[in-house]
């Protein structure tokens, strides 16, 4: 497993799509800082934070889906998957290593995003830059991004099923991003079905109180989605002829 992870890291370091993805992710808060400084200096702290969250909710799953799609699709298209499996590496370990390195990239990218958001808050809203406010802001972003990743694991399954194709997983990525963004706008009467749908649940989990009934439904829905996605990936890849 360790060898497979190290090998994936070597590849990821030269993956232009991953570098581009990180750049886009860090551009979100940078753009919002520039927007507050130049275009809308009157915008208040909570409004600014919610705008960052909204953009983040929309763009992050798309970038995430692009990165894993290009990463997996290349293995099939360049037929490197055969050299990997005959190296030899067990199929389960290979897929687990993919998931680990994908998550590491995601973690680094969102850490950079959080740092820029913190720096932005400190620069733009010195009065509101309190421990309580920052704890809330960072928790909101970290939770949202972490849940977004978990709910995005089924994209890996689609990548395995589609093999050298590109569009099915891209459509799924766009669909999940739209649903996550829509989750921020859900009305009260639709909140229960929205909590059951894992992608809308990602956004709702940040809006409802922790330890409420709805929060737990969101949590179960998201983690179930991730688990099903991962198990589906392992089973599909294990049964796939190369």
């Amino acid at each position: 497993m360790h060898n497979a992870v190290c090998s994936e890291i070597i590849k990821f370091r030269r993956n232009k799509m991953a570098w581009m993805g990180t750049l886009i992710i860090v551009t979100i808060p940078l753009f919002m800082i520039w927007n507050r400084l130049v275009i809308d200096p009157q915008r208040e702290y909570m409004e600014w934070l919610m705008s960052v969250l909204m953009l983040n909710t929309l763009i992050l799953p798309i970038v995430n889906g692009f990165v894993i799609t290009s990463n997996m699709q290349r293995e099939y298209q360049d037929r490197t998957i055969r050299n990997i499996l005959t190296a030899p590496v067990s199929r389960e370990k290979f897929m687990a290593a993919k998931l680990v390195v994908w998550f590491l990239w995601y973690l680094i990218s969102i850490c950079l995003l959080e740092m820029i958001v913190t720096a932005g808050c400190y620069t733009l809203f010195p009065v509101e830059f309190t421990t309580g406010n920052m704890r809330y802001a960072l928790f909101l972003l970290i939770q949202n991004n972490f849940f977004s990743f978990i709910a995005g694991i089924p994209i890996l399954w689609i990548c395995v099923k589609q093999q050298a194709l590109f569009y099915p997983s891209m459509l799924a990525t766009l669909g999940s991003a739209v649903l996550q963004a829509a989750g921020l706008q859900v009305s009260e009467e639709l909140i229960l079905p929205a909590c059951v749908c894992p992608w809308t649940a990602v956004s709702i989990s940040g809006l409802v109180e922790v330890d409420t009934f709805y929060y737990w439904i969101c949590l179960v829905s998201i983690f179930l989605c991730g688990l099903v996605g991962f198990m589906g990936t392992i089973i599909s890849f294990g049964n796939q002829d190369q």
């Binding site: 070597i10 590849k11 030269r14 050299n83 499996l85 005959t86 190296a87 049964n239």
Partner: protein, 307 residues
């Protein structure tokens, strides 16, 4: 005889189409085994089954005297392979590509990478990325990746594909050296029958998913009735009877109306010509011919050539 690879009753279907049908194959240790067949004959599927890339429907595979029931990384680590077109990361250099695959096996040993690249004639410190490589260079890199870990068994699919004539000759020498000097067992598939003839010790002829013949190359030479005398005469019926009855030649064939092929070489061309002339037959053409591997392949497959 000790076998590195043994398969029994191997079958594989894609959809409703059988691509491998009841294939039993025996690859002796330390030998070069050539798998001959047309496109779609099932060669690559057999190789993929051996490497665990494709699941068999039925039959058994024994590698290194161990029946392969499930994935066994210890066994596959002893095999080097190239299957179909070389699969490498297009944005990485040769050294980086080999590092990625070496890392999967454990520690990246730069000396091993350097040696493997050196063996196949590729530069070590080259900034050129894989997508800029010619087909021949890609093929060489695939061989380098196959031999980097010093495997006991090599499974090579069309290793000379895309190489220039000098490259083909070098590859042939390398493969023979790996087998004869380093004692490696090599399973190789190729369309280039002339290449196979110069390389292999054992041969398996596969057609439409079935193993038609499996024997040593020496045995094949005997089986295929290598040399024969070809006659073109004016009165083939009478000549045929004369050869059978008067000269007691048994193994005679008539591929065309006016042509006769004599496989029983008890008479040389000169003597045969003299006897026919003395018997009053007019001989338009007499020559000693070699039955090529392709001819033999055609004969076995009922007329289908290799290309």
């Amino acid at each position: 005889m000790e076998y590195m690879i043994q398969t029994y009753g191997l079958c594989k279907k894609y959809g409703g189409c059988s691509v491998v049908q009841n294939v039993s194959m025996h690859v002796p240790k330390g030998k070069i085994y050539g798998l001959l067949g047309r496109n779609g004959a099932g060669k690559i599927t057999i190789m993929k089954i051996l490497l665990g890339l494709v699941k068999k429907d039925s039959g058994s595979v024994t590698l290194f005297n161990q029946v392969m029931a499930d994935y066994q990384s210890g066994i596959y680590a002893r095999i080097g392979s190239t299957i179909e077109s070389p699969g490498f990361y297009s944005n990485l250099t040769a050294m980086e590509n080999l590092s990625v695959f070496s890392r999967l096996r454990g520690k990246v040993d730069k000396n091993k990478i350097r040696n493997a690249l050196n063996v196949v004639g590729l530069p070590y410190q080259d900034k050129k990325i894989f997508s800029k490589y010619s087909l021949g260079m890609k093929q060489r890199l695939a061989i380098a990746n196959a031999i980097i870990n010093d495997p006991e068994l090599l499974i090579l699919d069309e290793p000379t594909n895309g190489l220039d004539p000098i490259g083909i000759a070098e590859m042939r020498i390398l493969i023979r050296r790996l087998s004869h000097e380093c004692g490696k067992t090599i399973l190789i598939s190729s369309h280039q029958l002339s290449e196979m003839e110069q390389m292999v010790d054992w041969i398996g002829i596969i057609h439409e998913g079935r193993m038609l013949e499996e024997c040593s190359y020496q045995q094949l030479e005997e089986n295929r009735q290598h040399s024969y005398i070809r006659l073109v005469v004016k009165e083939p019926e009478q000549v045929y009877e004369y050869l059978k009855k008067s000269l007691s030649i048994e193994n005679i064939k008539r591929p065309e109306a006016s042509a006769i092929e004599i496989y029983d070489l008890k008479y040389g061309t000169l003597e045969l010509n003299s006897r026919l002339f003395a018997a009053g037959f007019a001989v338009a053409e007499i020559s000693k011919c070699q039955n090529s591997l392709e001819d033999y392949f055609k004969k076995l497959t009922g007329g289908a050539g290799i290309a």
